[in-house]
């Protein structure tokens, strides 16, 4: 319900020429509340892109606005004001999918390029033709993991535990579809509480343990949820019972990983990014990050969403000579390729969603710290939800 917050009037300006053409980017992120940590990752990702790849010849002004929560209401007002009051040329941000859903009518009316840097519910890119996504769809990791669990990990049975909100349900649906198509069997699906609070996972894990699956596929929001998952998995002796804990990369989010301790060793995850990737772009990115924000700080998949989002915007600015007319910018971005820290990426010309690699990794202990060891790479993965046209995807 809280209207607008011109949060940080900090206008990050990167001025190159005094009379350079100004491009105004309106960023909506949850700068306060539980999402503040996520906003910071994305903010820094954008900052790192501009630092490592300056956009010469244009004055880029970033207007940051706080959307506080996933209620939709704040985001809608913030985006309305960014468009009508701050007269921005490009919209960016969106940590939470409900905000992208709620804001879609305003984005449509505003007719500006809108870059989604995190929100991962599969179908949201279809709610407005101005949305371009540089983060991921839940189906990227879920669907690929479904195949990999059967083929690479040789699992025959699985139990799925998921936080009971739309990304969790997306993840369940995508994993089950791919796993069963590859000959596996999902024994049980366990909704494990809401995203708002970390629940006591014991009863849910107890139920999973009783089913004796080969793998226990868990999706919970990154952060405190995932630490609790790893702890409960250890405390209930599930590893000793021969049940492998697997999931998308959210449960081994880079900046939380070291805090999980040795209980995390052996976790197998599927994701489009982790900070231990060895490509040159990533090494440059991580080094610069640690130099700027401290050795203890690690970029994660949200940061890379911000980084690539800013890269997309920069491409749109250059392609339209700073006008950033929405139609021209979209034409330029359709089919755009970029060497990202996560590996090569492409914006799908048809869906405006990202196409990228998925990495199957295992957590190992290396030099006294937890390390994500890439076991297998799946290249040029598209959002399977849209490829297979599974409702609500079209």
């Amino acid at each position: 319900m809280i209207g607008k917050f011109i949060l940080a009037s900090a206008l990050a300006t990167v001025a190159c020429l005094a009379q350079a053409q100004e491009v105004r980017i309106g960023v909506n992120l949850p700068y306060t509340g539980i999402g503040a940590e996520l906003a910071q990752q994305i903010d820094r990702g954008m900052e790192q892109y501009l630092k490592l790849n300056p956009v010469k010849g244009y004055k880029i002004t970033i207007v940051k606005r706080d959307v506080k929560d996933p209620s939709g209401g704040n985001a809608r007002n913030v985006i309305q004001e960014l468009l009508t009051q701050d007269k921005v040329d490009v919209l960016a941000g969106w940590v939470y999918s409900p905000n992208a859903i709620a804001a879609a009518p305003v984005v449509n009316a505003g007719k500006k390029l809108a870059v989604i840097m995190n929100a991962g519910t599969a179908h949201i890119t279809q709610m407005s033709n101005y949305y371009v996504r540089t983060s991921f769809s839940m189906w990227h990791a879920g669907y690929t993991m479904g195949e990999a669990a059967a083929k690479n990990l040789k699992a025959k049975t699985a139990v799925v535990g998921f936080t009971d909100f739309p990304p969790g349900k997306d993840m369940l649906a995508s994993f089950r579809r791919a796993f069963e198509a590859s000959g596996g069997k999902v024994l049980d699906e366990i909704p494990m509480g809401s995203a708002g609070a970390v629940p006591d996972f014991t009863p849910f894990f107890q139920r999973a343990k009783d089913k004796k699956p080969d793998v226990f596929f868990v999706f919970v929001p990154a952060g405190d949820h995932s630490s609790a998952v790893v702890r409960t998995y250890g405390a209930l002796g599930m590893r000793a019972a021969g049940i492998k804990l697997i999931g998308p990369g959210d449960i081994t989010q880079d900046n939380k990983l070291q805090g999980m301790g040795s209980a995390a060793v052996g976790l197998v995850t599927m994701h489009h990014y982790h900070a231990d990737l060895t490509n040159a772009e990533n090494q440059r990115f991580v080094a610069s990050w640690k130099k700027d924000y401290g050795a203890d700080s690690t970029p994660d998949f949200m940061a890379v969403g911000g980084y690539d989002g800013m890269a997309a915007i920069a491409h749109a600015i250059r392609a339209t000579k700073g006008k950033v007319d929405a139609e021209e910018a979209l034409t330029a971005l359709r089919g755009w390729k970029f060497a990202s820290p996560r590996g090569p990426i492409l914006i799908d010309p048809e869906t405006r969603d990202i196409v990228m690699n998925q990495y199957l990794s295992e957590v190992i202990m290396k030099n006294g710290r937890l390390f994500q060891n890439t076991i297998a790479t799946f290249e040029n993965v598209k959002d399977a939800c849209k490829a297979l046209k599974i409702p609500p995807c079209k």
Binding site: G73, N77, I101, A102, A109, F165, P166
Partner: protein
């Protein structure tokens, strides 16, 4: 037999005059109109503010006047919101004005049913029951995903132009603002009428001393249920407006966050007094704006402190404080 001077007694005259319009009463409405012209780019925010005022006004009727301490008023806001949202989404009905009536009716019905069962209790039990009822509805809306859209809610609701003429533009919500302002005005007049009626007087009696109300033969429970139902219906109108102006509905329309916010707004402004909702909403918005700028990560700290101070020292909010200041000034000027 009756002394002719009695109806001329100052107390009697005050009683006869208390419902009359005071000179400053048009002021909030003039300001609201002024906002429309002064801040054409903030009308989305303004619309939300007006809706919150209406919601707080509905709570005032139950909490401020009848003394029903509830933590679950968002249940009715959400009921009105989902009633309108579901009908529009499933293509049954989406005309705005009748939508408000439907929202009011559904919320009022839920108010009536829950009032019949819950209002026999008081204190902690009532608090818990209102809270749990709201949580139950929220969880039901979450689980009825097939119809309600669950956590994501129902987006892109088709709301036709008001009176078939005035389109709701999502980018420049001028029509929305004026529409909400008009509905708020009508609802306000209705609440004002209730408050100054004998019914309103007897609600105050229940709040002030329920045992005495029983002893004067008042049907206390029915009065409370009636009041609760009306209050729920108005909250339903607020919820319906929220959905129509935003063209979507989701779970936040009936969460604890909303219930707590509206309670804070009402108390900040001053409950049991018609304009508390107005003052509270404006002050809360301004404060949250200001504090969030200075202290972006923890404006909760300031809000918490403020609430504690109000509860400890400034009973009955900003307007209560104002009254006491004025009272002190006046008594100093004119010694008794």
């Amino acid at each position: 037999m009756s002394a002719p001077g009695l109806s001329e007694h100052p107390a009697a005259r005050a009683m006869v005059a208390r419902h009359r319009l005071r000179a400053w009463e048009p002021l909030p409405w003039i300001l609201a109109f002024g906002f429309y012209f002064a801040f054409p780019n903030h009308l989305g925010f303004g619309t939300d503010l007006l809706i919150m005022i209406l919601f707080a006004l509905s709570l005032d009727l139950a909490l401020g006047y009848a003394g029903i301490v509830t933590l679950g008023h968002a249940a009715f806001f959400g009921a009105g919101a989902y009633a309108v949202g579901l009908l529009a989404h499933h293509g049954v009905w989406n005309e705005p004005i009748t939508g408000l009536v439907i929202g009011a009716a559904v919320a009022g019905l839920i108010g009536l049913i829950s009032g019949l069962t819950l209002l026999r209790t008081t204190g902690l039990t009532l608090l818990m029951l209102t809270l749990c009822t709201m949580a139950l509805l929220e969880e039901a809306a979450n689980m009825g995903e097939k119809y309600t859209g669950g956590f994501d809610g129902l987006p892109n609701l088709p709301i036709p132009p008001l009176f078939g003429l005035f389109e709701f533009n999502p980018l420049y919500p001028r029509v929305q603002y004026l529409y909400v302002l008009g509905v708020l005005f009508v609802c306000f007049l209705f609440v004002r009428m209730l408050v100054y009626s004998p019914f309103g007087q007897s609600l105050t009696g229940i709040r002030e001393n329920v045992l005495r109300m029983h002893a004067v033969g008042a049907p206390v429970n029915w009065r409370l249920i009636t009041c609760y139902t009306i209050s729920a219906a108005i909250a339903g109108v607020a919820g319906a407006l929220w959905v129509q102006t935003n063209t979507y509905v989701n779970l936040t329309s009936l969460g604890l966050d909303r219930a707590a916010t509206v309670l804070i707004i009402l108390v900040l402004g001053g409950y049991g007094r018609l304009y508390g909702a107005f003052v509270g909403a404006v002050v809360y918005m301004a404060l949250s704006h200001f504090l969030a700028k200075v202290y972006p990560t923890a404006w909760q700290l300031g809000l918490g402190l403020l609430l504690m101070l109000i509860a400890l020292f400034a009973r009955n909010g900003v307007l209560g404080l104002w009254d006491r200041l004025m009272g002190r000034l006046l008594s100093r000027r004119a010694p008794p």
